[in-house]
Amino acid sequence: MEIEKQAQYLTERLSYIRDIFGNKHNESVDLLASKLEDYRRREPQFTLRERRAAVLTLEDLFDFVEKRLETELTPMDMVRVVRHPHRICLRDILENVYDNYTEIGSKDEHSIDPSMVIARAYITRRRGKRVINQSVMVIGQEKGHGEEFRNGGSVKPWGNAKALHYMQVAETENIPVHTYVFTPGSFPIEETPGAAQQIAANLYGMASLRVPIISTISEGGSGGAEAIALADRRIMLSHGYYSVISPEGAAAIEGRLQPGERAAPELVETCAGRMKITARDNLHMGYVDHVIQEPCLGARPYHYDFFRTLRQEILRVTDEVCLSVRGFRPFRGIALRSRRKRAARGLDFEKAYIRWSLAPSEQIRLVNKRHAKYRRLSLSVVPDRTPFAKRVSGLWQEALWGVHSLFKHGLLQRHQQKFTEYMDEVQSEWVLFFNRVLAPWRRLRNRMTRNASRISMETAKQLTELSEWDDNQEQRGGNWAYVSARAKEDRAVTCPNSRIHGCLDLWAPDLYGEFAGVCTNCGHHFPMEYQWYLHNVFDQGSIFEFAADVEASNPLGMEAFESKLAEAKQKTGHKSGCMVFEARINGTWLLVAMLMATFRGGSVGAAEGEKFIRAAERAKRKRFPLLAYVHGTAGIRIQEGTNGLIQMARCTMAVRRYIDAGGLYIVTYDTNSYAGPVASFLGCSPYQFGIRSANVGFAGPGVITETTGIEIPPHYHNVYKALARGHIQGIWDRREMRFNLSQALLTMGGRNLYYR
């Protein structure tokens, strides 16, 4: 019986190996199959002893071949390892790594989202004879060995909302958060709270969560992974992958496939290799801190030794994070170094107790360290071509602004404000007193001069005559400072709503000139160039661009991308898809980060992310409001792989620092804005506005239908729908953007705005 079980187990091992290597022909696999077949054929003639010996020999052969196959694994094989239903899942980890746990809010399919599992767990450690249970909040996606209701670990927005909620609970309880990333990506639906908005909220929340976050990545698919993966330490399982897009998705883009078409396996294989998605690649690029070695061909639920290694690593890393923010620096350094050495010698972390709760000062240090860590990431792939002298003078200026802000806003203004408040009180009292005293005299004067009072000619004119357009007013009477080149064409343009609203054809010089690209009948906004906004929204001549020499690059060395990038640079005259500048609106200074749809679809890569962060930091230093004007964005730049994906977390953290420091952050969406940026640094703004006829969302209709099978009604991503779902806070007419922005600056948030 025992031998039969072992033989059965070998058959399962063989079928697993075949699954991993897909359709590829491999001699070693054939050898295993023939040996197993041979054993099956001869088995009835064997005695018990012979049978046992044959199975043991086969087991040895399997071990040997698996070791050899391990060295031949390609990135795409690893993707198949991770997606295999035999792959370890979160519940296996909860069972084997933690000593006890209580699942929160779910029992199999009875959950708000069965693909997100949350558990309160503890790990038992010993200090001398004392046994200590250290609590943690475990959060992660659950693939459930192929259980259908788990949705393959693809979490719906409400699942992510639940995760954020329990992270905040952990913060209240002052216990660490352990997250486990097992997701191919987020479930891309816009139903409230919305895939993008919720991921943005999670990133924003995790950016300054005041407890240690340790994240372990097995399958890190894009935004879905980011929703719980922003952490103080990121561990990756050696056979896992962490990528901005699935290899199939990358192949579809690379091969320019139409929806419904399937990419050739060779192209998928090549893309998986090029995207640098494996643990080793990510460790090399610095996006994960440690890699845990898995057994040959990936960890499965019966690899108990692996769970022990994982447990030790989780303990070590959580201790390390807590120790790194504790006490004086010299002692902390010694403690950390000594633990690393002892870990190498095989220290059992269960027998060494470190407190995981943090004091308030330690919490602040923890958050600061997290921000500093992410600020450093991906810098190496952003070439900054700013001349040395300019860079030095820039640094010098920054330092001066820092000092200036500290004096003006930190010290002087605080006292000045108190003085002003006091003077206001005195003045109010004085006016009241003065009015009382002078009241009889005024009455007398009014009686004597009643008939003599006359309205001036100017006032009479203002009150009785029709007003005229002033070129400085919001709509300038159609005399725009910038007129699109399309206005020079002598042709008619049809409004896309003409069939529904019966709009008449518009003459291009009118439409793109005086009408500012707005249909006079239905108000449909035709897309306009970003230059239109630069010239018509901000005060004339007030734009001052900086960091223009930060350049978009091709960090993964993708074929053909280099030339496409060069083409985009030449076409737009910009070195990246993000332009950052200072500008004025009605005399009020603000900082603007603009994503240009004309530069590679407005996609965000490492350069764009870096420029956005610099803008947020400059706004914080100068105490300016920050506006993100999204002329259009297609998402994270796929060709940059994880270098692009990490910008979601980096930029959101920069926004968090800026808002926490008292800034006002406004986002305006124009044309089409989708995916990563909306699901992070744009979507986390409390004040988001859409220009009419814009589309805002997470994934486009084609992607939603392909991944979820749900058919999407037309205009699903329209700003009005986004407003109704609560994603954005208002819709602006393009022609009134200047006025609305100006009003927004005067009426919205931010305690540190200098003009208050």
Partner: protein
């Protein structure tokens, strides 16, 4: 008295609806190169008819190309290719296509000829009066017999609710063409009334259509 079988035979003789696609406004007309008589063309598709129909022609006015799209699935009969590249006036026939009738369309066509249609006098929302409404909800419309001058509708418009009397021959309500809380345009049929002696005959024809009508794929 209407001979329903004759109507059915007439439809069977020409089991299609001929659609004339004409120029919506003046302009230069360009036909696609690969569009010939006998070709099958498709109308708007998708759950919300969000996918456009096939391109039949392009009409260019003031350098603004306007696509003329296929309104319904059918077969091209005539393409006025002699107009290709010329300036046409609004209303000029461009393409003629045959839309082959489906079972539902045949039934609807027969019923519209066989039944007395009572139409909406103005654009409004229409409801049955409660007593009729209950009967229809419980046992279907065929059990309600109405006669001339009987009050059976409530016309709801601009927050005013006015009773509406039926006018026409006595009969049972065979078909209801409006739904709850939906605006009906003036002149659109509300109900189809069938004289009691014809009910059986109509039902038979409908059954025949459902079973015998061959839908052309």
């Amino acid at each position: 008295m209407l001979d329903i079988s004759a109507v059915l035979e007439e439809i069977q003789a020409s089991p299609y609806e001929e659609i004339v696609v004409s120029a919506p406004h003046s302009g230069e007309i360009i036909f696609p190169e690969k569009l010939f008589p006998g070709d099958e063309v498709f109308g708007p598709s998708g759950t919300w008819k969000e996918k456009d129909g096939d391109l039949l022609a392009t009409l260019i006015r003031e350098r603004n190309p306007q696509p003329i799209l296929c309104p319904k699935k059918g077969e091209i009969v005539v393409v006025h290719r002699e107009l290709h590249g010329t300036f046409v006036q609004a209303g000029t026939e461009l393409i003629r296509l045959r839309h082959f009738l489906s079972r539902e369309e045949v039934v609807r066509l027969i019923l519209k000829r066989a039944l007395h249609l009572f139409c909406a006098p103005e654009r409004a929302k229409y409801y049955f009066i409660p007593s009729v409404d209950i009967k229809i909800k419980v046992s279907g419309p065929n059990v309600v017999t109405i006669r001339d001058g009987e009050e059976i509708f409530i016309m709801s418009r601009m927050k005013r609710e006015t009773p509406l009397r039926y006018s026409g021959p006595e009969g049972v309500i065979y078909a209801v063409y409006f739904s709850h809380a939906q605006n009906v345009d003036a002149g659109q049929p509300l109900i189809g009334v069938c004289p009691p002696y014809m009910v059986k005959q109509v039902e038979e024809v409908v059954m025949r259509v459902q079973t015998e009508w061959k839908v052309r794929e």
